[in-house]
Amino acid sequence: MRDDASHAARHDMASAYLAMDNISKSYGGVHALTDVEFACRRGSIHAVLGENGAGKSTLIKIISGVVQPDTGTMHLNGKPVKFMTPLEANAAGIVCIFQELSLMPDLSVADNITITDPPRNAIGLIDSRAQRRIAEELLARVGCEDIDPRERVRNLALSRRQMVEIAKALGRQPQLLILDEATSALTSSDVEKVYSILHSLRDEGLALLYISHRMHEIEALADTCSVFRNGHHIETFDKDVHSDDEIVQLMIGRDMQHVFPPKPERQALPEPVLEVRDLAWQPILNNISLTVGRGEIVGIGGLDGQGQRELLLALFGVLRGVGGKILIDGKPVRINSPATAKSDRIGMALIPEDRKTEGLMLPMAVNENITMAALPMLTRGLMIDRSAEAEKIREIVEKISIKVGDMDAPVATLSGGNQQKVVIAKWLLTGARIVLLNDPTRGIDVGTKQELYQLLRELADADTAILFYTTDYDELIGCCDRVLILYDGGIVRELEGADITETNIVSSSLNLPVEQPAHSGAAVQ
């Protein structure tokens, strides 16, 4: 892949382009980065690895001037630098493609691409024709001639927006380009284009920082890797020094083996609690049929964006115009709002994807958040029964060991893991019989994850039916009694027992045949 010239060029520029020393940053007592030493070179793609919450985002936010470090120094090309705003970092040649897109939805593609430094005419006004030409050139460079520069970003699909974001970054003539999960929404052909662009940029002598969770991307791209864990820089090593397993070890800091609680022996088929027949929500969901039995944990897998999130929202009554049937305990029900979904008759709970906007009221007190869903059950007449409320809160906090000093403090002051526990506590208090989870372990620490797995199993043992969508294959393998793989809005495969293996999950996710077809793993489509 690499030709010798570029290889040599890289070594010529081996000295650090960006060097960070003793960088620390904490947010309200939570240490995001502790005494980090980090360096990257020109002409190299440097992958930064780590779990969510490991400090990667904070690292790039510091480099790109979005936040300022509490302590430590930064050198760019040997000169000390300090960026107070993204603008200053930009001026120094540092350009970042953020995970949360930094596009303005109501502006045109061309406006977005040239937002800070548009071409101007003789009297200093934006030259829209030149601007359009620049945008077209940059879009062509990333292979997106199909995007009209005059179109508003709002009207573009997510994958197109991500390509616009990349074009926008290239237009700023970066010396150091940072990509934070920049390919998460891309189609595979776009990913190929991005790879070749990144390779050519490296050969031009740029320094590239690449943040991704996908191991195969790291393999395809990275020359150097750095692993972060809990705000510490653990190790930096060249490509091929460590195997994938070793890298994972470095990332989680311990053996994966004993993370999950043992699964119970399966006896007869459990009595179905939730049955779904021919559920459809065009064009995202087609003819989904599934059952979740009493005391069963059913996993939902597949690549991102195959309709998993919509499936859970449809079950929870959030989507309008859902076709098909939902049966609870064998009786058909109509669920048209979360309020209906949580009613006694149905008893459903949803742990949403984004706890900050969908799960919690961050400025409100911990205890108020915990009882938000169960409040009707804690009300006598008009009044909230405060003693009952306090008692319930005390019980649940103890049960799932939420670490909280002051129950009246805003929930925003808790760590990510404890915040997620508050969301879960909120729903446990309703006594839900059916629990839907939408990627609940994102951005929480390993310890809390382990507690969560334990809790799920305990809930299942207490006859709760659980539908568990996660992007983490290990969780599907370690937690679930059955796994349903979604592809393009339909269930393509159901895996059970020993068939739940990484190979099977990955190949099913890509809609390839399962390698070892077993008697229990029945293909649905």
């Binding site: 502006l107 406006d111 989507l319």
Partner: protein
């Protein structure tokens, strides 16, 4: 074709406002017993101040805020103008310049409070609005002022009158009957709005209104853009005050009138297709939004009392119909709500 489609879909609110105005105004014209240029002139006199105030409001709304001080600022400049726009030609000119400067300075002050004081625009301008009214009362405790009559007359009529009053030119035929108000408005749009819209700062304002976080990440100079938006808003409000002064020939620290202008300006902005969440729209749409509002009142004047619709001719019904039309116009947007298929998207 593609260009047309893009233009149409990206300016739907604006086109709607233009359409509404065209429809309403042609009803007015068809019902008017003796329509002519003098009627246009009269309409212009009644509308221009509202248009300018609504343009000022647009500036705050574009960056996702709301300015409750536009009416009071117009009143302040009106009172100030009634003092400084007296005397001879040169003095009047200086007076106008200082009125514009006052408007812009007050807008800049609003911007400073919002940007550096980190107070929500709606609250900051609620307070500065009180201050502006106070200053206006201080300048003009009772209505009055002696704005040069010739000047007043010349600049609120048509091209002919402008020339005749000062002896600059004679009767110019049909060309001379063009009223001055559209020309004044056109000049302000051309000299202030168009350059702003096409500057980096102006586009930054749209970026802020669209997604402030993303704009910051992209390196937009947030503070500078907000200050510029408020300053230009103040300038527009100042122009409204100047026009009001010329039209009335006097100053009046009329607080209820100021409040009414502020509230109407919000309505004009919304009807003109600017989103109250910011980032979409512009002052040209607002011009038509204000025209729509005023056209409604015009129509009530010309409905013949003995016609089928005579019962609505009563001026007493006019505020009610204005309100109902406003409610109807804003509720049309509700169609979106019933098309939405993922209810979560209602909350973002």
């Amino acid at each position: 074709m593609k260009t047309l489609r893009l233009l149409a879909t990206q300016n739907l609110g604006f086109l709607l406002a233009v359409g509404m105005f065209a429809a309403l105004y042609s009803v007015y014209v068809s019902m008017h017993p003796n329509y002519g240029m003098n009627v246009v002139n009269q309409n212009g006199n009644e509308t221009l101040a509202l248009i300018l105030v609504a343009m000022a409001q647009t500036m705050a709304v574009l960056i996702g805020g709301l300015d409750l001080s536009v009416g009071p600022l117009m009143t302040l400049v009106n009172c100030f103008g009634s003092l400084v726009m007296a005397g001879s030609g040169g003095n009047i000119f200086l007076g106008i310049i200082s009125c514009m400067a006052l408007g812009a300075a007050c807008g800049f002050m609003n911007g400073c409070i919002v940007v550096y004081g980190r107070i929500q625009p709606i609250i900051a301008t609620l307070a500065t609005g009180a201050i502006f009214i106070g200053l206006a009362l201080f300048l003009r405790p009772t209505p009055g002022g002696n704005v040069d009559g010739d000047f007043s007359w010349a600049f609120t009529n048509d091209i002919n009158e402008l020339g005749l009053t000062y002896g600059w030119w004679d009767e110019l035929g049909w060309f001379g009957t063009i009223p001055l108000q559209p020309i004044i408005l056109g000049l302000i749009l051309l000299l202030v709005w168009v350059p702003f819209r096409r500057s980096t700062t102006g586009r930054g304002c749209y970026a802020i209104g669209s997604a402030e976080g993303a704009a910051y990440m992209s390196g937009v100079r947030i503070d500078r853009c907000k200050l510029a938006a408020f300053t230009i808003g103040g300038f527009f409000a100042g122009c409204a005050g100047i026009y009001l002064t010329m039209q009335m020939g006097s100053g009046n620290a009329d607080a209820p009138q100021a409040a009414e202008y502020t509230l109407r300006s919000i309505a004009a902005v919304v009807i003109g297709g600017t989103s109250l969440y910011g980032g979409v729209g512009g002052v040209v749409g607002t011009v038509f939004g204000a025209l729509v509002l005023r056209s409604i009142s015009f129509i009530f004047r010309v409905v013949p009392e003995d016609s089928l619709l005579g019962f609505v001719a009563s001026p007493l019904l006019q505020p009610l119909f204005e309100g109902l039309i406003l409610l109807l116009a804003v509720s049309l947007g509700a169609a979106r709500v019933f098309r939405i298929r993922n209810r979560l998207s209602l909350f973002t």
